[in-house]
Amino acid sequence: MQTAISTSQLTVTYGANTALWNVSTEIPQGKISAIIGPNGAGKSTLLKAILGMVPTLSGSVDLHLSPSQAVNHASDIGYVPQRSSVDWDFPITVLDLVLMGTYGRLRWFQRPGKREKEAAMECLKQVEMEDFCHRQIGQLSGGQQQRVFLARAFVQQASVYLLDEPFAGVDAKTEQMIIEILQQLREAGNTITMVHHDLTTVQSYFDHVILLNKQLVASGPTSDTFTQENLQETYGIESDLLRQSSKRDELPGPQE
């Protein structure tokens, strides 16, 4: 198994609060991985630390995005932040938002041109949002907003994608559509990692799980890591949801 991203003894603090403590883990290449844990477990922080958005107190992040590139940059990672992180009343259109995914390739004085616009439209088509390209972003439903965010990450043409709760506040149909797109990306050899909350879908969606509660609890293939004991250690309590999801252990494994 090849590793796309690895962290070694990563520690991140916000003021006096510890967000991540001594986390050493690996994200396998060409798989869909989930980061799972209770609220405040540092799941989003782990993504941001990988992207270099938050200062780390100690430890390191190693990116092995593509063997051909001598230097790996965090900017080669497609990032989908939480939907609630932006002001959806901002006066831009869907196409404008997706075009922002190309800004990393543009110089500071450049504006996106015809080539960038074509690429953005292509990515909008991928998430079936091309008819909405001239809509103001505030006019979209939650699921549509998420699909537009996804298109913005795709236009970065990355090989690794980090998604922060892409299914939060999204309807079932969109969730299904997003997971299918991500599975296609995986078949093409891309690496996908997301913060995920719904424990009932873990086994059908993910090849690999990372269980986190400030410290790393467990990390590995879903089949042998997503267990009752590990979940209990992660969440500290035994909830119905945990019991329900552990029953699914008996179900046949996901897409292998």
Binding site: K48, L51, G52, M53, H73, A74, S75, I77, Y79, P81, S85, V86, D87, F90, P91, I92, T93, D96, L97, M100, G101, Y103, G104, L106, W108, F109, Q110, R111, P112, Q136, G138, R152, Q156
Partner: protein, 295 residues
């Protein structure tokens, strides 16, 4: 009225005010979208201290107080930035929340500025050139000289060029700074540029609007423009246009009607535009919004 417009001083004042209105109105879009109205208010109130202090400094160095914008605007920038940086370091090091820090800093800088102003006005022997310094409280467009107009022109041109060339970067930084950081853009540097643009949008208008009401010149055009469009570019142009129109009309009215402070007159025009926009906008207006709900 045409006769009046051909008057050199009035023409100078109207052109200068229109440039100020356009610059503040346009740059105000960033402040509005980044929710920095309060920050803008702190910078403008705090700048009084810098204006008065630099005036006194010019008196101290040359023996005569200088009220040229080339002296006072650097003072305003210094004090405005000092207030911002102090707020940041206080809120980082204490448990004070940001809005409390901003409120405290506004009170300290503005209060000290007022005290220094009063001291300069009452000092004996009198400091030459101090008459009219208190116009910086509520603005006096008629005080504008042609050298001031050059200062205003350079600031307006500088900000227009910056915005045009850095359009995309400023847009992504305003919309989604976190994502911009993820793309590997040096967000800290762009933050500084946005702060600089905010400061320019404020200090450029202090002479005609005054420190007390300047935040209206910054935020009102953007608030009105936002009601009419869903595009950032159009919002920018509408805000600049509205700002220019209101500032020029207010400055004209106050310079032909002696004793009318310019700032409040401009703010009255701006208020009317904001109310009209909030009520009448076809997509976001209160009146038509209700109608849509009924149907």
């Amino acid at each position: 009225m045409i006769e009046l417009l051909s008057d050199y001083t009035v023409r100078l004042v109207v052109i200068g005010s229109a440039l100020i209105g356009a610059t503040s109105g346009g740059l105000g879009c960033y402040a509005y979208l980044r929710r920095q109205s309060l920050v803008g208010d702190v910078i403008s109130h705090s700048s009084l201290l810098g204006i008065v202090a630099f005036f006194w400094l010019s008196h101290f160095l040359t023996g005569e107080g200088n009220k040229s914008l080339w002296v006072l605007i650097p003072g305003a920038i210094t004090a405005g930035l000092a207030a911002m940086l102090l707020t940041r370091s206080v809120t980082n090091r204490t448990k004070l929340k940001e809005d409390a820090g901003l409120g405290v800093m506004l009170a300290i800088f503005f209060g000290t500025g007022l005290m220094l102003l009063r001291w300069i006005q009452r000092s004996s022997p009198p400091i030459s050139g101090q008459a009219g310094l208190d116009d910086y409280l509520f603005g006096m467009a008629a005080a504008m000289t042609s050298s001031d107009l050059w200062m205003i022109c350079s600031l307006a041109l500088l900000s227009a060029i910056t915005v045009l060339f850095c359009w995309s970067r400023l847009k992504i930084l305003t919309f989604d700074e976190e994502y911009a950081a993820g793309l590997g853009l040096p967000t800290a540097r762009w933050e500084v540029l946005l702060l600089a643009l905010l400061v320019i949008g404020i200090v450029i208008g202090l002479q005609i609007v005054g420190v007390v009401l300047m935040v209206a010149m910054l935020i009102a055009p953007a608030s009105a423009a936002r009601q009419w469009t869903h595009s950032l570019g159009a919002m920018f142009c509408i805000a600049a246009g509205l700002g220019a129109t209101c500032a020029a009309s207010g400055a004209f009215l106050s310079s032909v009607q002696k004793g009318l402070p310019t700032g409040p007159v401009i703010v009255m025009f701006l208020t009317a535009v904001v109310i009209a926009s909030v009520l009448l906008s076809p997509s976001r207006g209160i009146l038509f919004g209700r109608q849509r709900l009924v149907s």
